[in-house]
Symmetry: C2
Subunit: 173 residues, 2 copies
Amino acid sequence: MDFYEVIRTRRSMRSFKPDPVPEEVLRRVLDAARIAPSGSNRQPWKFILVREKGLKDELVPLAGGQKFIAEAPIVVVACGIDIRHNRGGYMGDMSMLVDVAIAFDHLTLAARAEGLGTCWIGSFDNNGIKDLLKIPQDANVVALTPLGYPRGVFAEPGPRKGLKEIVSEGSFA
Amino acid sequence: MDFYEVIRTRRSMRSFKPDPVPEEVLRRVLDAARIAPSGSNRQPWKFILVREKGLKDELVPLAGGQKFIAEAPIVVVACGIDIRHNRGGYMGDMSMLVDVAIAFDHLTLAARAEGLGTCWIGSFDNNGIKDLLKIPQDANVVALTPLGYPRGVFAEPGPRKGLKEIVSEGSFA
């Protein structure tokens, strides 16, 4: 699919068919995340695939009670590994958030290119998911998404600010 | 350009031709960032275009002394606006980092689709750039990149971990 078509047609999908995702399709989607850039090429990420129904159901209350998460055949949980050698700056250890967001953006866009739906979830119970999925102390959840063939029509995107509001020349104002 | 070709051929480019970026091309690249998803559709971002030579030169020491930054006709400085109504969780106000990273990833990928080069810079003097570009108290720099037509050949990408190392089933381990 053309690059601009992918980004123009990506939507948050909240209803999924039970149809499985073929392994070669899943591999291409995960590989898009794998080759993403990261600060100093640290690749501080891990993607946990949750396919077992009981485990998906346990994720629902840990992700705001959004039941459609468990409808999809796969839930992908993106974890960021704390950076030990961060070079300071106001981000500190949080710069792994930027790296994992880049890789997860690649993953969600690749899913769209494959006709799959995702819904980027950034509000969740980090400690609850860490317990459920045995995520170690030095790693944290950055985002999760259901991954599967979407059901229903693509909604209109949410309204966006205009370019004049988000772009400036030479200074912030 | 095909989506997968964009992500497979994106590289950090560190040498630029002085050729200007046509305004319609720049507009498409910025629009790719504009339509990016963000938590609760907050769009907590602003992109400052730095084209004036004196200002670009002043950015160099604030971004690790990397002189190639000022070679490009444009430097894009991505700012994140602090989230006042964050819903808690370990990210706190830092969740704007995730949103800005998504939009900036769209921007750098769109640049590749247009034949432009970028180099995502995540290590910089946040307060120094804030002073230089009159960025207000409640906003911070998340990343910057030179933007222009690259000079020279595309290098090989840095080595990446294999899928087996970054993907797991049902739990982190």
